[in-house]
């Protein structure tokens, strides 16, 4: 168990270094000479040559890669081309924080809708309500965010004027409601599916029958025995869902005009600001890998029967 975690911890930096190398290569393939981009198109060839030297662009790729990784380890992702002279991290940081808040709000929505509904559907298996919930969920799951977002804006912001249509005001402002719902509803669909499946699995177990036979109340059996055990596999899914939401939030940020990471990475693409873009991809990969590791470890704590090899 400890050996497994250690092995994973040792492999994680290697994985990230490989990911960084890939991202770095993409940056070198990317069009545009960074020196030229920084100086503008009126710079003389001599100045561009000097700038190239200053940035070390003429060094061989392995040298530049080592320098890049060394910088990343110190939290230095280079300088943005778009905002001249500003370190990438100072641009990304605040934007990333906005996206993180949005995704946490969305995850809360997904969990709050998804888990109880999945549990309910499983308990009502064999009645008409279970398939009704499942079909509804499938319909919602297939709905792309560019469908839900405009629909929610039209209905709740334009027709009813309950909430603002767009913008960003922090985690506790009403502006977060619509985007969080937009990302959270497909997420909820995933949770319903898995919660329903894992609840059904647990209900069939012998210890549930034993619990009932002992004369325990339905409430206690449901919550202490069924729900707790059914939640176990959901942990894994939560990590993947969060990662998937991060992708979905790019589109949602664009539609709602939220100044988050998605908006910035898109600008970076069109301005060819590759230092910003590569930093994003690398940070995203790092978060995903660490989240998966954390989930694996959390799993063993929640369920002591699991012995990781």
């Amino acid at each position: 168990m400890l050996a497994y975690i250690l092995r994973r911890l040792l492999w994680t930096p290697v994985l990230l270094a490989l990911a960084a190398f890939f991202v770095f290569l993409m940056g070198t393939i990317a069009p545009g000479d960074p020196a030229e981009l920084r100086l503008g198109n009126r710079a003389t060839p001599e100045r561009i040559e000097r700038e190239r030297e200053r940035l070390g662009l003429d060094d061989p790729i392995p040298v530049r890669y080592v320098r890049y990784v060394a910088g990343v380890l110190r939290g230095d992702f280079g300088e943005s081309y778009q905002y001249l002279g500003k370190p990438v991290l100072s641009i990304i940081g605040p934007r990333l924080w906005v996206s993180v808040q949005l995704n946490i709000a969305a995850l809360l929505v997904a969990v709050a809708i998804g888990l109880p509904l999945g549990f309910y559907a499983a308990k009502r298996q064999g009645t008409g309500r279970d398939p009704a919930i499942v079909i509804t969920i499938l319909i919602l799951y297939a709905m792309p965010v560019f469908f839900t977002a405009p629909f929610l804006i039209l209905f709740f912001a334009v027709k009813l004027s309950w909430v603002p249509a767009a913008g960003w005001g922090g985690f506790f402002s009403p502006q977060i409601i619509l985007p969080a719902l937009t990302i959270g509803i497909p997420g909820a669909a995933i949770f319903v599916r898995h919660m329903r499946a894992s609840t059904l699995e647990v209900i069939g177990q012998e210890y549930i029958r034993t619990a009932h036979a002992k004369g325990m109340s339905n409430f206690v059996v449901n919550y202490r025995h069924v729900a707790r055990n059914a939640l176990l596999p959901i942990l894994t899914i939560m990590g993947f869902t969060l990662a998937g939401m991060f992708g979905g939030s790019l589109i949602v940020e664009l539609i709602y005009g939220i100044p988050g990471a998605g908006r910035l990475s898109l600008d970076a693409i069109f301005q060819r600001d590759f230092p910003v873009l590569t930093a994003f991809v690398l940070l995203g990969a790092g978060m995903l890998v660490l989240a998966n590791l954390a989930i694996d470890v959390a799993y063993t704590i929640v369920d002591p029967r699991i012995r990781l090899q």
Partner: protein
């Protein structure tokens, strides 16, 4: 010595077997929702394939006297802000989706994923280790970011290459016909499409290579490629079909997302993603366009939604029919 008398081989009338795939099809057809979904998918794809025949207008003809019109006899789904016919653009957009999903699936998932999975699972050892590590690195990236990064960095290079080919060979229209866009999107979607399929096939092969009939084939001196493709592959077909039917919806959506961001199909070629992006996100005036002309969004979005929904239903049903034990 009692000779063993061979009994005359009796002419036993076996009940006519219907065959595995006939059975699967019969079971699938009984699921009404899934069968209806399959019909809807076929219908949508046919619309796309016959786009040049069933179009009512030219997809790039603008009519500035008739912009932002509602549905009418002339323009079945109305016109967009440049006065182009939305119905025509939707069917051409479907064609784009069809071409991209089929090409990425055949090259990435079916060709690369299946072959690499067979090799990794059968040979194990260091080949398997390398393939799995590469896959792990690829799947360390958030899908959509990786796809966007690939499309953004590779597009200029590929366009440049295509221009050079045009100049040196005299073939024209390589860039303007949209072939380059398909190549860019295909390459960008590759990491998404091959790894999942590879892992699935590898897992199945790891179990099957120990099966007795494979051992028997090996003992008889059957060549390795023959074992892989004649003995093992047919037994992995069911999970492959299920995985494909789930994956097609995701691939179609990825193309729409890329085009939505302006990284996929380039104008004037229509794409469902481009059409959705034009109404919801471009030009900063999203809410006002949306408020005044939401009907422009309806046709492309319903098509995208139906495709994803129906493929999910079909995938679910196929999973039940083909893998009865996995439940």
């Amino acid at each position: 010595m009692a000779s063993i008398t061979q009994p005359e081989p009796a002419e036993i009338e076996l009940p006519r077997s219907r065959g595995h795939w006939r059975n699967v099809w019969a079971k699938f057809r009984k699921r009404r929702l899934a069968f209806a979904s399959l019909i809807i998918i076929t219908f949508i794809y046919l619309l796309g394939i016959f786009a040049p025949v069933i179009q009512t207008h030219d997809y790039q003809a603008t009519d500035l006297m008739r912009t932002q019109q509602g549905p009418s006899a002339e323009n079945w789904f109305g016109t967009d802000r440049a006065g182009r016919d939305i119905y025509t653009r939707v069917v051409w957009g479907i064609q784009t989706t069809v071409i991209i999903t089929i090409t990425t699936f055949v090259t990435g998932s079916l060709f690369l994923g299946v072959t690499v999975g067979l090799v990794a699972g059968y040979f194990r050892g260091w080949i398997d280790a390398i393939i799995m590590r590469v896959g792990e690195v690829v799947s360390a990236f958030p899908d959509i970011l990786l796809i966007i990064l690939l499309a953004a960095t590779l597009r200029p290079r590929i366009v440049e290459f295509a221009r050079n080919v045009e100049d040196s060979t005299g073939i024209s229209g390589l860039v303007s016909s949209g072939i380059v866009d398909y190549v860019v999107i295909g390459i960008a979607l590759l990491p998404l499409s091959w790894f999942g399929m590879m892992r699935l096939v590898r897992g199945q092969v790891l179990a099957l290579r120990e099966a007795e009939y494979v051992e028997a084939a090996r003992a008889m001196g059957t060549t390795t490629p023959r074992i892989l493709f004649r003995h093992i592959l047919p037994n992995v077909v069911s999970p492959i079909i299920v995985s494909v039917s789930f994956g097609i919806g995701a691939i179609a959506l990825s193309e729409v997302v890329l085009s939505f961001f302006g990284l996929g199909v380039q104008p004037p070629r229509p794409s469902l993603g481009v059409m959705i992006g034009e109404v919801t996100a471009r030009g900063g005036a999203s809410v006002s366009v949306l408020r005044d002309h939401p009907e422009q969004l309806l046709a492309p979005i319903i098509v995208v939604w139906l495709l994803i929904f129906c493929w999910n239903i079909v995938g679910d049903a196929l999973n039940d029919v083909l893998n009865p034990r996995a439940r």
